[in-house]
Point group: C3
Chain length 267, copies 3
């Protein structure tokens, strides 16, 4: 389960109750319910990072859905390993693409959904029952017709040259580590400990290429291949977000050359 | 499980450990542990919203208990569908009333509770073991004597007239949606898209009646029948709480007539 | 499971997915994932408070690990009741010591860990698979060689005299209750309702000894034997942290004599 419903309200529990009514043996695992509200891209990122570690046959119910109650489609994607249930707004795409999409169907079978569908809580009334029916063995063929054009989502453009890379902030984690949309491979030519220049939005700083957070003194800025396949900007035992004032979506520029700024940060 | 214990401490885990020791097959589902501390009314609201979606036979262990360690009673309520375990302070009442109360008993059987009862953590030492024993099949008759006067709780008074409605803020959810204690039916005579005047505390704004968040342009204030049976005040892709500066308990007034304020907000 | 990974990212879900792949019947219980980042002592405290309530045979996977990716050892501790899996930095010690340590082994068996070990996410690649293999019945002998010198951790020094006690703030819970490292027994000679003088950092206040939060009027400061075996400083229906401006690690001094300050707080 992944949503932007937060953990204070009854919303997530209602989903779980609905699922357990239809499929009492379901094993429920939360991925995150504190995705920034309505942030489809952040939800897609977190889902795509978690999904590869789940057992084959898992059903991912993901709802970050600013268009709830409007005419956007509701879909189920069959991937090579897992099923994905949620709105057709790109949220499910990166996780499903990573394992390979077998097919996508639109949820149209009215017998699978709750009799009264609230205009503001389709997660409870449509997506949760569908996920529970799938967990109970329902075939994806019984959900609805195949569609060939689910809404796509990309991580945003990146520009990679031998001397640098430009992209965007994709996510900022609890530690203040800044996850960019630059693939880890963009660091492959850079020797460990190489000095780098980093720009995030208007903030500029010098940093070192590194393999892990502990490779540099406390408080030093590092650029490393993160655990999820993307370049991350971090501070050893500190918060890169605080140092650089970053926010999701800000432009990121790495320059693989000696910084001229010394060790100071410019904001 | 519903508490105001938060998610950072060991409190909730201690409950779960105690339950799993006594009933290893229990399926544990969190409703919320971030109810505002000591806010019995908010806990009662969230519990009552989640409970109807849980399977028949579920046991709801709910503890928001500013009187812990004092002489207030500890009770189990048998509803038509589920059991409710917690303090006798009204917390369990709205959820149990909604399904129909069969009977209420006071927890007096000392063999069901932990030998050393901490004065500050009855949830671990009393309520969790009782819930676990019930989950293992203990009859409610073995808990203690029937009582006929559990402490009541209401959502607060509302005033409904053809031209408007007055009530209070019951809850503010993660999206900044303001849940009022006005029943959804108070909007039943209002055509969709009708202009309304909204007052929350000292803030006054114009809004439209609507069926879902996406029916109006981004940033517009709407009044709708929420998924839980109460009138909600919301902003499409925004936060009504931020726009109106609302807090739980503030007075809410809806006027079903053309606003004179245009589209501006007054605080 | 106890970590400082937070609840917004995919980190905890990745652990759970890895465990469920290797041990589909595992019952997963979260203790806390919002330990202050890199705070080994706070993690050790919360783990030690929760662990005694879990069933015998439980496996505690705990990761608060500022040294991730460096050469610190990875260990499994066999206690008299439970197993503990995590970094060798003291995190597991208080919980394991409380039940009695049978033996400690270093994790060296490469067949138990994921093929590609990320330098920044050993919890997913090393600790979670080891915990899952143990849950599936692997013997601790197959993990690696016995070690005799795990890194220790203490709650910090305390000084106890008949007229007072000095120690430190160990933890501040969601209610603003200040948990000190003073054992509850340091209050054993003090009659209920006795006046006390409390100093936390530079803040000085008068308080009463008490058995539970509700024993004094609202807003009054009390000192009591907390549910976890340590002295706590609390405010009835309020936050001692807000009143005293406390933070984890600050010095705490209790004087068991009539306060001279009346009922005022000095900061």
């Amino acid at each position: 389960l992944l949503t932007d419903f937060g953990i204070s309200d009854h919303y997530v529990a209602a989903l779980k109750g609905v699922i357990l009514q239809l499929c009492p043996d379901a094993v429920l695992v939360d991925i995150s319910h504190t995705i920034s509200r309505h942030s489809v891209a952040e939800g897609a990122y977190v889902l795509s990072q978690a999904a590869p570690y789940f057992p084959e046959g898992s059903i991912h119910l993901a709802v970050v859905d600013p268009g709830v109650g409007t005419r956007r489609r509701r879909i189920v994607i069959e991937g090579r390993r897992c099923l994905y249930v949620g709105p057709d707004n790109g949220l499910l795409i990166p996780a499903a693409r990573a394992e390979g999409i077998v097919k996508t169907v639109e949820i149209t079978n009215k017998r699978l959904i709750r009799r009264e569908v609230s205009a503001t809580f389709e997660a409870r009334d449509v997506f949760a029952p569908v996920a529970a029916h799938l967990a109970s063995g329902l075939s994806i063929e019984d959900i609805g017709p195949k569609i060939s054009n689910p809404v796509e989502l990309s991580w945003g453009e990146v520009s990679l040259t031998p001397s640098g890379a430009t992209g965007r902030v994709l996510h900022i984690d609890r530690f203040g580590n800044i996850v960019t949309n630059l693939p880890s491979s963009s660091l492959s030519g850079i020797p460990p400990s190489s000095p780098l220049r980093v720009r995030v939005g208007a903030a500029i700083a010098s940093a070192s290429a590194s393999k892990s957070y502990g490779d540099v003194p406390e408080g030093k800025l590092i650029v490393l291949a993160g655990s999820g396949g993307f370049v991350e900007i971090a501070v050893n035992r500190g918060s890169a977000q605080e140092v650089l004032g970053a926010h999701v979506g800000a432009e990121v520029e790495l320059s693989f050359s000696l910084p001229t700024e010394g060790d100071t940060y410019r904001r």
